[in-house]
């Protein structure tokens, strides 16, 4: 039995068109280029670029600060520093860390109330799949107040992780809470009475991903029937290596 002649061009066309679509990412090792050097530039960036920090100050800088000598007017004297022993010991209370999954994102936050004129809270969200940590992101905030202020202060920080799927991942978070007195903000020797401790959240989970076919012939996209992963996205200038844009951090559950 043979095919009618009229089918031949059709079958040929489908064959040619089909071959033209074969993906190239599946690896075939056949030839290689014998070049001396491979030229490229990995851009340098600070890890702080990846931190979640909105720079919200809980209160305006007011009250006592030691002005740099260069900012003092002629004849103006540096104000007297407060007596450190007269200040109540800094304290922290109502400290907590929590997190929740939103559609396409995870948000973790940590907060506390404190006495002292500076407070800092740092929260790190840990993304996991099957108990394996696959990525994390840290956010922090600092509160900064007059040492004369008699009121309790509050500081809160959060950390956002972008998600590409709404299934298959679990997460938890850890918060670090600190409070202290600082006479001249930023000057180390004037920091005293620093207190701090950590809190942890519970475990939050997305629903399980539906099962997907396995063994996709190597042409799989790594996100279907494959491992969960987290990655960062940075764009940079090819000539200068300067970071132009970044998106932190993406995670996707397996399935």
């Amino acid at each position: 039995m043979s095919l009618p002649r009229r089918f031949v061009p059709l079958l040929s066309a489908f064959l040619v068109a089909g071959c033209g679509h074969e993906p190239s990412t599946a690896v075939a090792v056949a030839e290689m280029h014998e070049g001396a050097d491979l030229q490229f530039v990995i851009p340098a960036f600070s890890p702080e670029l990846l931190m979640d920090h909105r720079g919200n100050v809980s209160d305006v800088r007011e009250g006592f600060e030691t002005a740099p000598a260069s900012l003092l007017r002629p004849g103006e004297e540096e104000p007297e520093r407060p007596d450190a022993t007269a200040l109540a010991a800094p304290t922290i209370w109502d400290a907590s860390t929590d997190l929740t999954f939103h559609p396409k994102s995870l948000e973790a936050w940590a907060e506390h109330k404190y006495r002292g004129n500076k407070g800092r809270v740092e929260v790190t969200a840990f993304m996991r799949e099957g108990g394996v940590a696959i990525g994390n992101r840290t956010g922090f905030e600092e509160g900064w107040h007059s040492w004369l202020s008699p009121f309790a202060h509050h500081v809160i920080a959060n950390s956002i992780i972008n998600l590409e799927k709404d299934c298959g991942l679990t997460a938890d978070a850890q918060g670090k809470h600190e409070a202290w007195w600082e006479i001249a903000p930023g000057s180390g020797p004037s920091v005293f009475g620093k207190v701090g401790f950590s809190t942890t959240s519970g475990l939050a989970s997305q629903p399980a991903c539906p099962p997907t076919p396995t063994g996709g012939g190597g042409g799989g996209d790594g996100m279907s029937g494959d491992a969960a992963m987290c990655y960062i996205w940075l764009e940079y200038d090819l000539d200068s290596g300067e970071i132009l844009d970044w998106q932190v951090i993406y995670c996707s559950g397996g399935g």
């Binding site: 089918f7 075939a28 290689m32 530039v41 190597g218």
Partner: protein, 144 residues
């Protein structure tokens, strides 16, 4: 009648071929982008297991010499393929550190063998300069 049907078949075939030539232009173009894999002696100072670099006209998967294996290479290539599909070709440099993954990608025995062969060949390549990371080895994966 037979001649007419055959001619009609050629016309349809021509349409299919022209469609095949038009629709996947961008796909064909992006799939022709050469892919390099590299193992530098000094991995970038990034908290990552694999780093992908995408530039107009080429893509590079940088493996950590301390942990370079089929799992890492397969994960890098699978993400690379997905980025091509979802984000198209880059117009400027893109750096994508893969900070973590939970398990090995889902590879057929055939693809696993290909990746192992690629890694074996990479490890026997002569030392050269690998970007601004210093000395290392690199290999171009052939188009397929």
């Amino acid at each position: 009648m037979q001649t007419y049907k055959t001619r009609a078949g050629y016309v349809v075939a021509a349409l299919i071929l022209s469609t095949a030539g038009l629709l996947p232009v961008s796909l064909a173009a992006q799939e022709s982008v050469p892919v390099f894999i590299a193992i530098p002696e000094r991995f970038p100072d990034v908290d990552a297991r694999v780093v992908i670099l995408r530039e107009p006209g080429r893509e590079i998967v940088v493996l950590n010499p301390a942990s370079a294996g089929v799992t890492e290479l397969g994960t890098g290539l699978s993400l690379l393929r997905r980025l091509r599909r979802e984000r198209g070709q880059p117009t400027r440099g893109q750096m994508i550190p893969i900070v973590g993954f939970s398990r090995a990608p889902n590879l057929t025995p055939r693809d696993r063998a290909r990746l192992e062969t690629a890694l074996d060949q990479l490890r026997t390549r002569p030392m050269a300069n690998v970007g601004n990371l210093g000395r290392g080895r690199w290999l171009r994966l052939p188009d397929r």
